[in-house]
């Protein structure tokens, strides 16, 4: 069960880290008693060493910035199209009817299936990767924003109409606050998706830097220690992105 209270006390924070400590302990135990071959699972110390090495030579930083650049560019393009379009579709039923079918259709096509077509059109550079990230995260965000605007209370809209609250006042004080939770939920989901698609494109579409590329390289060289350190980095990046979105949501709400 997820605790209802989002503000964790210091004792529950401590308790939350116990899960990681247990995981680390089991990992360490498995490698010390040679339960698993180090080719598959190197000991924590080896992973930390590999991690430290790629941090020191600057390659990890370079890979992270490359990946984050593509993901944030894709997500930026996606938000700048999907958020206004989602509002427009949520507010104008005609536009909704017109675009709802195509949206649902394209949403079912996985971004990975579009790799070949995207390479034909945009080549193997950053452009095609960013386009694919924008495509998949944009559609997810669009659906969330649209439903957020749609789910606004009809009674409240009626009340506002009676009191003559319309246009910008209506948008600023009623529609936007009602849609905000759905927009941020959409942003969190699409950011995770952008990360997934970003790393996959780096694995399969010609790249010389980026976490996805580095993961494939580590696997091909059987450098499992580095592979694990890269996976942990990816996980941490995901958490960081989600946290920063949650944080900006909190900031916006407490304004």
């Amino acid at each position: 069960m997820i605790p209802k209270n989002h503000i964790m006390s210091s004792s529950s924070r401590l308790f939350a880290s116990v899960g990681f400590i247990i995981l680390l302990g089991v990992w360490w135990l498995c490698t010390t008693i040679s339960f698993v071959s180090p080719i598959f699972l190197p000991p924590p110390s080896a992973v930390i060493q590999a991690w430290w090495r790629i941090i020191l030579d600057g390659s990890l930083f370079h890979d992270i910035t490359q990946t984050l650049f593509r993901v944030s560019a894709g997500l930026g393009i996606a938000s700048s199209i999907a958020i206004p379009l989602g509002f427009a579709m949520g507010l104008h039923s005609r536009l909704y009817v017109l675009l709802q079918g195509p949206t649902e259709f394209f949403r079912t096509i996985p971004a990975t299936a579009l790799f070949p077509l995207c390479i034909i059109f945009l080549g193997i550079g950053d452009l095609s990767k960013i386009a694919l990230i924008a495509y998949s995260s944009g559609l997810t965000l669009l659906v969330n924003v649209m439903h957020g605007v749609h789910s606004a209370s009809p009674i409240r809209r009626t009340a506002m109409r009676i009191f003559g609250v319309r246009r910008w006042l209506l948008f600023r004080h009623v529609i936007l606050p009602e849609a905000l939770p759905a927009i941020f939920t959409g942003l969190k989901i699409s950011a995770s998706l952008a990360m997934v698609v970003g790393i996959v494109t780096e694995m399969f579409i010609g790249t010389t830097a980026g976490i996805g590329y580095r993961i494939v390289m580590a696997q091909q060289l059987y450098n499992t220690a580095e592979l694990y350190s890269l996976l942990i980095t990816t996980g941490l990046l995901g958490v960081l992105i989600n946290r920063s979105i949650a944080w900006s949501e909190m900031l916006l709400r407490n304004r």
């Binding site: 209370s153 009674i155 409240r156 009626t158 009191f163 003559g164 609250v165 319309r166 006042l169």
Partner: protein, 268 residues
């Protein structure tokens, strides 16, 4: 800015083949508080929605005569205060928004933030909720929320004050208290601003205590079965509930309800 009369003539409403209102006619004069009383499902809300302009009648006419010549300005209190107000705003901002809307509609006096603040402070002190002004709406109790909703409806100085079962979501004591405050506010605002109030109620005590006149609706398709003048003196308070004149009127309302429900059983 004021209203002189509201006239409904042979108003009928059907949805598909179902008749909801059947030739409803009545007139209300400046300063009158009218409650619409009737059994559940009689079409009370439909009648109010038509007056509010949210729904169109199938036939018949609705005419509001105002001194400014424009359609009447409406202040409305909904049954559901949580969904009709903005829970993410403070009580103050809820009221300020509707005044800003007046400014956008071209009423220049509401452009001034100072003017709006004075109007809001005045109504809050009359309603006794000054201390709650800067609390977030969602943090208030049910009674406080509905009181804020009543203030929002009155602050726009409406020509028509429409109340859609304003007490039905509140417990007995709370509804008594809010009713007393509403009576005081009405008394205060009607002195400076001529308006007509229409209030839906299925509670005979609410209906009588607030009203100058009670319209008794029959069950659907609703017609006005009877009009009852309530000549009890104002200012009124819940002390009247035990007054012999009040109990006589109350028995008329209860007899009406019993008759209407008996008809339902008779038909089925």
């Amino acid at each position: 800015m004021s209203i002189t009369s509201l006239d409904l003539e042979n108003l009928s409403v059907s949805v598909g083949t179902i008749k909801i209102l059947h030739t409803v006619s009545f007139s209300a004069q400046q300063g009158e508080f009218i409650t619409i009383f009737g059994p559940n499902g009689a079409g009370k809300s439909t009648l109010l929605n038509i007056v509010a302009g949210l729904q169109s009648p199938t036939s018949g006419t609705l005419r509001a005569t105002t001194s400014h010549g424009n359609p009447p300005r409406i202040g409305m209190v909904f049954q559901n205060y949580d969904e009709s107000m903005l829970p993410w705003h403070s009580v103050y901002d809820n009221l300020d928004l509707v005044l800003q809307a007046r400014a956008h509609a071209g009423e220049n006096r509401y452009m001034s933030q100072m003017y709006r603040a004075n109007a809001i402070d005045k109504i809050f002190s009359l309603a006794g909720i000054t201390a709650l002004a800067h609390r977030t709406f969602s943090s208030l109790s049910g009674g406080q929320k509905q009181l804020a909703a009543i203030c929002r409806a009155l602050i726009v100085e409406p020509d028509l004050l429409l109340l859609d079962e304003p007490f039905s979501a509140l417990d007995y004591m709370t509804s008594r208290n809010i009713e007393t405050t509403l009576l005081q506010l009405w008394q205060e605002y009607i002195r400076t601003h001529a308006m007509i109030a229409l209030c839906i109620s299925h509670n005979p005590d609410n209906a009588l205590l607030l009203a100058d006149r009670v319209l008794l609706l029959s069950r659907a398709p609703a017609t006005i079965a009877q009009q009852l003048s309530v000549t009890l003196p104002r200012p009124r308070s819940p002390h009247l509930l035990t007054d012999p004149a009040f109990t006589t009127l109350r028995s008329v309302l209860l007899t009406h309800l019993e008759y209407e429900y008996a008809q339902v059983h008779h038909d089925s």
